[in-house]
């Protein structure tokens, strides 16, 4: 099996790795870079547990092959926290609103929320639900996740206003 070299950034750190071309970003993150926060729930692009941002687009690490990583900037849950290593306002809002139960889906939801707020997402419940509709949660019934996102938007707007 031939190998390819790819260079990319993950959470602002440069990486160059040698791997097989169809290796999934998910395996590269978890196995090579030991970034375990991105989870695998289905491996076929249905559940959203492996959501990451690639060049700012919300993407699924389980169906992204190594060949498509060259020069990309990838953001994972490990890169979401605030500069001082504290959880970000989104993460704090999730904690405060009880948006987490087993937590396996949580990194994916945090990433989807991050993308939504970054794009200027509003507090409109329908829009929030649309933005999170690619992520399954089996524990929470989604109610407190929506509360968490709304709270995060409020905190984001407060921050912006300051």
């Amino acid at each position: 099996m031939n190998k390819i070299k790819v260079s990319f950034k993950v959470n602002n750190k440069d990486y160059e790795i040698e791997t097989t071309p169809l290796r999934r970003l998910l395996d590269i993150l978890r196995e090579d870079l030991k970034l375990m926060g991105t989870k695998e729930g289905c491996g076929e692009g249905e559940c959203g547990a492996c959501s990451v941002l690639i060049d700012g687009e919300l993407s699924l690490a389980c169906i992204t092959p190594a060949t498509q990583l060259e020069g990309k900037e990838i953001l994972t849950i490990e890169g979401i926290s605030d500069k001082d290593g504290e959880p970000s306002y989104i993460q704090k809002a999730f904690i405060d609103k009880g948006a987490v139960q087993c937590g396996f889906c949580t990194p994916g939801f945090v990433m989807a929320t991050h993308k939504y707020i970054k794009d200027g997402g509003s507090n409109d419940e329908t829009k929030i639900k649309e933005a999170l509709s690619g992520n399954f949660c089996r524990c929470t019934g989604y109610a407190k996740i929506v509360d968490g996102v709304k709270e995060a938007i409020v905190r984001h707007n407060d921050k912006e206003a300051k």
Partner: protein, 1086 residues
């Protein structure tokens, strides 16, 4: 004074979970760890003639391959009956049986080796219906037990026969009978199952990690399997990614396999399942067949109830003994009935086995009995509320098992009243009735269901649990418990009990992950007993510590009774004298006296009883009550149901953590909605058809409505601070409430869940008839392929589910890509949303060509009155593109409904067209806009109409060396077009299109139809516009009459082209409705 119990508290483990730092089973990697894979059976029933492991063993990196005979010790396990072979010997009982296990240096190698094992079978006809299995002439699935019957529980109260005889001869009474059917349900915890085993040389045994729901059960099973003593097996649970009852028996057998490989290789071994493997082998909720027969007084009083239930146990007995026992206790529902006769039997079949799932034998009976109560009310001219008021449990009522409900508050009518009031039920009944009279297409419904449920294990087994609380010299403390945090929030609840009892603060409490080696067997974390059992054990430990501390400080305070002091806010205070001591100082004083400030807590349930012959006894020591109200809207054109609202009122005794309790309600209600509307684990002739989340439909965020969670508190004398249970009741009521709501909306009755489109629309299921021998290949759309998949031979399924060893070449320019294609046929990959998913399932290897980085293919431009779209443009880029928005709103309508944000940002228009799935959402509107595609190769290029490009399901005209490079769409005339796009699917997001319709119309100055386009999706074998209908319409005046005429034309076409198909009884009338809705909507808009 700050109270802790009953407040909203943040989870102790939330921080590590939101930051991605929590360590789940699959996140554990040990030094020198091997990876394991299992080889599942390929048939549902038969004999294994030969197993050849040569190729697997010869694969580089394979360290061990084990078969049944390689296991030196006990080979069968099971909670009651040891009928479950960890690795089967020579007969296959279901498709998820494991025939061999492999350990290798990498996961990829292990899974590949598992595929390379060659097995010869003699396939036998399986038994797939438990009623069939119980017939005397049926083949025995486990001959050693001499019967396919796993268990039979009878219950006899009063004299049912006499009551029926009396009813038959009386004018005041009627006999009422109903049959119901409930399906399999898959737990679908988002984390798939995983275990890791490691030799422990110190104890000459093993340590086991992983997603383990019940560590003590796993320990027992591993110990039996290996012949190791209990103290040689240590189970260390990892953070659980959800369980819901699902990570018990399956994890235990997986643990045995990992342990066997670990002992054989003397290395750590990880066995992680893919979603497909987990769904195939993992156990489910039992499907039930239920028959209820009643004798009822015409005024509504139920005199007698006779219940016959057959449960599908699948290939193994597993937890059927316990699950069906709960059913027999609660089968009548919360109704006081003098004469009851219940028989429940569980039987073996050659299908996935069934065991614990949140609800545990209650969602099935509640679906039946609560659906029946509404139908009975209807029959007698009573309201659903009245029938429950007449029969429902009151304080002191006697249950079917003869238990008098005197020891707790019987709050059935209380929760019903609270829920109905919150839902504004009585007014909505009238309001919806009125709405439904005038609304043509949509009907609204409201309905409810109620239940009672025994807390904890009851007479099912010994009901005890353990906890350790250890207070340190500075007042901080540790907790360890024998019950497990599965994601439900137990740790936080226990910490709150400690904080409340000792008066210390939450911040000062740490929870230690328990290991089976460090604490006494706390029994299983099941039956919603986490709070009541574990909370009591924690409180017991705290009370002991408190007594020790008190024995020292009472002199300082000069008091004699504990009750004279208040323990709160990290202080101990005498309210009389205002004297206070810091909690930490008090602890230090106690330690200084040489007195222990750590304690073991223990809880044993109050006495319960059960008589096996008669089904009489005090089954549980206390009960909880709940009521849920569902509001729905039904699309009568299609049978699609949308949830409008849910109200859930649950008496949980006492709230400990309000945030946690509400979370339990929301989560349980959502699972109940799944059970009622969507989730259908499909097994056809023993073959699992729902292997992953594309086929097994979980509710998405858009399918769950607002949920009002109401926590009703009637403290129980046996609970810690009065708390009882909540987790399971929240799931068990939804399906019945939804069914009652839909019945109200449509004035029809339904006797099976989930309420699929066909069930609602036709009142029955449509099933494709297949024989066991026809193992049908997986289709992602619901139109049968006229040909097999494009350009590919039929290939057997693989278990690998990994694709790393397939080669991809990346092309940077179109020229380069075309050259590569001219040398050798490559499969083209761009977004990968289809290709990678398909590759996981196919055994042979293709060469891939990645075109996602070719700039020319990612541009959209206006050229000569056309918009030209590069084939590698993603759907999200098109949705955001102003040119597309301006000219092709109908196209935007269609592609906005594809998958999810994540899918749309990857999937490309070229991929969608080349894949040519009948359900491809970009196609119908492109047909309407008369798009063409450009095909290129090194030999040149050509432009063909899209309608000529797609030949049929998954078939197109692309040659071996060609690439689809552009989509060319003429810019429509600048005039007013009316448009309508509708996509029918079962969910509101991540939807596979069942059928769709794209319609566009314009009118001339005389108000006659000028242009009209009607384009169905997923209806015919080949994509086609309905030109004969269009021609018929053009030039005519647009009226409702005309619409009916064109529908008649459509009917002829549908009948002649798809009339014979198994799905046509649904598809034909529904597609006619879809066209009618399309045209009427445009007519209205005009």
């Amino acid at each position: 004074m700050k109270k802790v119990v009953g407040t909203k508290v943040k989870r102790l483990d939330a921080y590590e979970k939101v930051t991605g730092k929590a360590i789940y089973g699959d996140d554990i990697n040990l030094p020198k760890m091997l990876h394991a894979a299992v080889r599942h059976a390929d048939i549902p029933a038969g004999k294994i003639l030969k197993i050849d492991t040569t190729k697997a063993k010869n694969l580089k990196g394979v360290v061990s391959v084990l078969l049944h005979d390689d296991i030196p010790t006990v080979k069968k396990v099971g909670p009651i009956r040891r009928d479950h072979n960890v690795i089967v010997k020579d007969s296959v009982h279901f498709i998820g049986d494991v025939i061999a296990i492999v350990a290798a240096e990498t996961l990829e190698t292990a899974r590949k080796a598992a595929d390379l094992i060659e097995i010869e079978y003699e396939e036998e006809q399986g038994i797939f219906d438990p009623r069939e299995a119980l017939k005397p002439e049926s083949k025995l699935i486990h001959p050693e037990y001499k019967s396919n019957l796993v268990v039979h529980y009878p219950l006899r109260k009063g004299n049912v026969e006499e009551a029926f005889e009396k009813a038959e001869s009386s004018d005041d009474e009627i006999i009422f009978e109903r049959d119901y059917k409930t399906p399999y349900q898959e737990h679908a915890a988002i984390e798939p199952e995983v275990v890791i085993a490691e030799p422990n040389h110190q104890v000459k045994g093993v340590d086991v990690y992983g997603s383990i729901q019940n560590p003590f059960t796993t320990r027992k099973v591993v110990s039996i399997f290996t012949d190791l003593k209990l103290n040689q097996v240590n189970i260390i649970g990892s953070t659980m990614g959800g369980s819901f009852g699902g990570k018990d028996d399956i994890i235990n057998v997986m643990a045995c396999r990992a342990v066997a490989l670990s002992l054989a290789t003397n290395r750590p071994v990880k066995l992680a399942y893919t979603r497909e493997q987990a769904m195939k082998e993992g156990y489910k909720r039992h499907p039930y067949f239920l028959n209820y027969k009643l004798a009822v007084n015409k005024n509504g009083k139920i005199k007698a109830m006779k219940i016959n239930i057959v449960a599908d146990s699948g290939a193994y007995s597993s937890q059927s003994f316990f699950v069906t026992w709960r059913s027999v206790v609660q089968a009548t529902g919360p109704y006081e009935i003098e004469n009851v006769q219940t028989d429940i039997k569980a039987a073996y079949t050659n299908k996935p086995y069934t065991a614990a799932f949140r609800g545990f034998g209650s969602p099935q009976i509640i679906f039946a009995q609560e659906s029946m109560m509404d139908e009975l009310a209807n029959e007698l001219g009573l309201t659903p509320y009245e029938i429950r008021k007449i029969n429902g449990f009151k304080q002191g009522s006697k249950t079917a098992s003869g238990q008098a409900l005197t020891e707790h508050k019987v709050s059935l009518m209380e929760v019903i009243d609270i829920a109905l009031e919150k839902a504004d039920y009585h007014n909505k009944l009238k309001e919806f009735e009125k709405y439904n009279k005038t609304s043509r297409r949509f009907k609204k419904g409201i309905g409810f269901s109620c239940s009672y449920r025994g807390s904890s294990l009851g007479a099912e087994g010994v009901d005890t649990t353990s906890a350790i609380v250890s207070v340190q010299a500075d007042g901080s403390s540790y907790i360890m418990t024998g019950l497990n945090e599965n994601g439900q929030g137990l740790r936080t609840t226990y910490a709150m009990v400690v904080a409340e009892t000792l008066g210390c603060t939450m911040e000062d409490i740490q929870f230690l992950t328990s290991q089976t080696a460090n604490i006494a067997d706390g029994g299983p974390t099941v039956a919603s007993r986490g709070t009541i059992a574990g909370g009591n054990a924690v409180k017991d430990a705290c009370d002991k510590i408190k007594a020790n501390i008190f024995s020292v400080i009472k002199e300082t305070f000069n008091v004699t009774e504990m009750t004279e002091l208040v323990w709160a806010d990290n202080k101990i205070t005498n309210p009389q004298t205002k004297q206070e001591i810091n909690f930490a100082d008090a602890v230090q004083m106690t330690l200084n006296e040489g007195i222990n400030t750590s304690a073991y807590g223990w809880w044993k349930s109050p006495d319960v009883s059960w008589d096996k012959e008669t089904g009489q006894g005090n089954a549980y020591f206390t009960y909880v009550y709940g009521c849920q109200v569902a509001e729905t809207q039904v699309d009568t054109s299609t049978g699609k149901i949308d949830m409008l609202n849910m109200v859930a009122a649950h008496d949980l005794g006492r709230v400990i953590n309000r945030t946690g309790a509400e979370g339990q309600v929301y989560g349980g209600v959502a699972q109940g909605i799944g059970y009622g509307l969507l989730e259908n684990y499909s097994v056809q002739n023993g073959i699992v058809k729902s292997e992953n989340f594309d086929e097994y439909l979980l509710p998405t965020i858009k399918d769950i409505p607002n949920i009002d969670a109401i926590l009703v508190e009637n403290p129980d004398k046996y609970g810690p601070y009065g708390a009882k249970s909540l987790g399971e009741p929240t799931l068990e009521l939804g399906a019945a409430a939804i069914n009652n709501s839909v019945k109200f909306a449509l004035k029809k009755k339904y006797n099976a869940n989930p309420l699929t489109l066909e069930r609602v629309f036709l009142g029955k299921d449509l099933v494709k008839k297949v024989r066991q021998s026809e193992v049908v290949s997986k289709e992602r759309c619901e139109v049968p392929n006229i040909n097999s998949k494009s350009n590919s031979e039929t290939v057997p399924e693989k278990t690998t589910d990994r694709v790393s060893d397939i080669n991809i070449t990346v092309a940077k320019t179109l020229k380069e890509a075309l050259e590569i294609m001219s040398n050798k046929k490559h499969w083209i990959i761009s977004g990968g949303t289809d290709v990678i998913v398909q590759l996981r399932k196919e055994k042979y290897h293709k060469e891939l060509l990645d075109i996602s980085q070719i700039k020319e293919l990612k541009i959209t431009n206006e050229i000569d009155g056309n918009i030209v779209i590069g084939s590698a443009c993603t759907f999200s880029s098109l949705i955001d593109n102003e040119l597309i928005q301006k000219h092709y709103p109908l196209f935007i309508d269609g592609i906005s409904l594809i998958g999810s944000t994540q899918i749309r940002s990857r999937a490309t228009i070229g991929g969608n067209l080349v894949n040519a799935a009948p359900c491809a959402d970009s196609v119908p509107s492109l047909f309407v806009y008369d798009a063409s595609v450009k095909i290129e190769s090194t030999e040149g290029s050509k432009i063909v109409k899209l309608s000529d490009f797609i030949l049929g399901s998954y078939k197109n005209i692309l040659g071996e060396n060609e690439i689809l490079t552009q989509i060319i769409i003429p810019i429509p005339k600048d005039k007013k077009y009316y448009r309508y796009f509708f996509k029918l699917g079962r969910r509101n997001a991540l939807n596979i299109t069942r059928m769709s319709i794209a319609t566009m119309m314009s009118f001339d100055d005389n108000n006659k139809i000028d242009e009209v386009y009607i384009m169905p999706g997923s209806v015919f074998a080949k994509f086609q516009r309905l030109t004969n209908l269009e021609e018929f319409l053009v030039g005519k005046e647009f009226t409702t009459d005309l619409i009916e005429k064109v529908i008649a034309l459509l009917d002829e076409k549908l009948e002649s082209e798809i009339g014979g198909r198994w799905s046509s009884p649904y598809k034909i009338p529904v597609f006619k409705n879809m066209l009618r809705d399309a045209l009427l909507t445009i007519l209205e808009e005009k």
